[in-house]
């Protein structure tokens, strides 16, 4: 498998611990795109990923721990939204110079695995509108094909959080962005939230959409001959919904 690179490793832990006190683990492969944000490789994040990667992890734990990672992705993604300065008075009567959120948002999940990220999104953004896009691989051409979409009518006026936990070749994510752009959403107002990506997928996606921001928890080593992410975590949708 020539397109699988060895994973970089690192001692992980708080700064006040010496290197010898910190355990070593495989961390995300780096990427060269400014638009791509990889979550800080904290020991806690690596531990969460270790749980959902483990093939012996049961569905209940898979759901719980992947949800924790997704919440961290959403929290990081929301930081890319605009804010304005805003001063309030606190309950103890002192002024507080803060920020207020600007711009309307909505979520769009790429079915089926992307829907697994909706709960995490809702835990951070109550009553958020969520559109859905169904893209499946056409059996004859082996190319992704749009089967269904249902999106908020005013989506062109909103910031869009596009949800898909796995980015392998990037085929369906690219198609989903094309759908959004056709509805009038400018590229720079789309945030793609992703749990696990392959370097190839990131490369394809970020090259195609240079203004679109990507937030991912981890860039893995590569793809196998069936285009599965390696070492990966299996089929996210199956593990979340049916296994």
């Amino acid at each position: 498998m020539s397109n699988v690179k060895p994973a970089p490793t690192q001692c992980l832990g708080p700064v006040y611990r010496s290197e010898s006190q910190k355990p070593t683990a495989a961390v995300s492969t780096g990427v060269e795109f400014d638009t791509v944000t990889i979550l800080p490789q904290t020991p806690q994040l690596i531990a969460l990923l270790s749980i959902i990667r483990d093939k012996s992890t049961q569905r209940g734990d898979f759901i719980f721990y992947s949800n924790r990672i997704i919440r961290l992705l959403v929290e990081e993604g929301l930081n890319h939204l605009p804010t304005v300065e805003h001063t309030v008075t606190t309950p103890v009567g002192r002024p507080y110079d803060g920020l207020s959120f600007q711009g309307k948002i909505c979520g769009v999940s790429i079915m089926r695995a992307g829907e697994a990220m909706e709960q995490g999104l809702r835990e951070c953004c109550r009553s958020v509108r969520i559109g859905k896009i169904l893209i499946q691989r056409d059996e004859e051409s082996a190319q992704p094909k749009l089967f269904y979409d249902k999106l908020p009518e005013d989506i062109a006026d909103r910031w869009v959080l596009l949800l898909d936990p796995m980015l392998a070749t990037g085929g369906s994510a690219i198609m989903a962005v094309d759908v959004l752009k056709a509805r009038g959403v400018p590229e720079e107002r789309i945030l793609f939230l992703n749990v696990l990506a392959s370097p190839q997928g990131i490369q394809n996606f970020a090259t195609k959409f240079p203004k679109l921001r990507v937030v991912t928890a981890f860039v893995d080593q590569g793809l196998d001959e069936k285009n599965y992410i390696i070492p990966g975590l299996g089929d996210f949708g199956d593990r979340y919904y049916t296994m």
Partner: protein, 466 residues
Amino acid sequence: MPSSMAADSRTPVNGAASETDGTIATRAHYAPPWADVSIIGIAGSSGSGKSTLSHAIVNKLNLPWVVILSMDSFYKSLDEESSRKAFRSEYDFDAPDAIDFDVLVDRLRDLKAGKRAEIPVYSFEKHARLERTTSIYSPHVLILEGIFALYDPRVLDLLDMKIFCEADGDTCLSRRILRDQRDRGRDIEGIIKQWFAFVKPNFEKYVDPQRKVADIIVPRGVENHVAMSMVVQFIQQKLLEKSTHHRAALTRLELEVQSERLSPRVTIMNQTSQMQGMNTIIHDIDTSSEDFIFYFDRLSALLVEQALNNIPFVPVEITTPQACTYAGLRPRGEVSAVIVLRGGATLEAGLHRCITDCKTGRMLIQSNVRTGEPELHYLVLPPDIHRHEAVLLLDAQMSSGGSALMAVQVLVDHGVRVDRIVLVTYSAGRMGLHRLTKVFPDISVVVGQVVPDIEERWVEKKYFRC
């Protein structure tokens, strides 16, 4: 009265803190208030009104955490022969020999050092110590009452005040008959036999001479209101002195550290735009309760996620469904939490979003309205907490650091290593952070935001809506 405020007199609980031993020299000096319990000894003849006086003092003092310790708990267990004698009312319970002074002194010393003490439970029906013990933990005032409360010189050294109760002999005998019949299941004949065989001669030989070492002799027990007020006033004065000392020690800590940088073990949350936006909503007096709770829960989950980066991990090799291996991490052992009530309970929703089944201890620490000093009112911890790899200590706000210092010390007293404690708090003042990390340099702290100075506890008011 000399003050026994010895700043570094505390020693770690057995096996608790070998790691902290090495750092004691560099630690700032701080004696938590309960490390300096006031012990009052009340001696006097059987039936002279010692326990009535003790209860009256408790009522008059009207303080939380006043404990009465009866010396009856320290009767020696009887061997078979003595036990037979005891059942025939021929055993001398009223001689100093019947009391296990060694155990008593040990327990009093533990309490004086601010440690938990296991008090034996004695059964008068069985004339033996029971298996179970009663735990006493860090009282403000301890009243030791018993006919020989002022007998052992080692006990006398530990007492802050020595009281001797005096009563007329006939009064004593009649009270004794009533009590032993009612509470100890004895018959009148046995009681009277004991009185003349043991109680009276022992009184003259051992009990009465204790009046020579007493600070105050109280005639006529509880009916003596003047003596009662004197005793209560004295104790109050003593507590005020100690509290002044305690707060002076806190101020000293503050002066020592004002100019220094925060410890590297203090993590202040990155002030991202979301964090600032959430903080703004939380701080806005006009925010609805629904929004306040929603954003506070969201933020507290992030605090807990950050705190969990401070727990110990070990490498683990994972096999993925693709049959590949991944060099990951897993927590080294159990992580539990302790909520400092009431404020800490605001972080519980966030805690459970990260660890659904987290074992959770609770302690109620309240600042004394009069002195501003923290007081421990309630404590329940997971029994195996000293074996947990990490303990998250949750509180909503920290200003002077007084209650956080107390909470950490309580955990240390229960065998939790300081380097395993992660204090998680929504906001903290620099002063409090300095104090805490100066006293406990090995503690990790995760703070949502650093606020300039002392602030009242408004977060819990808003979160719980009262």
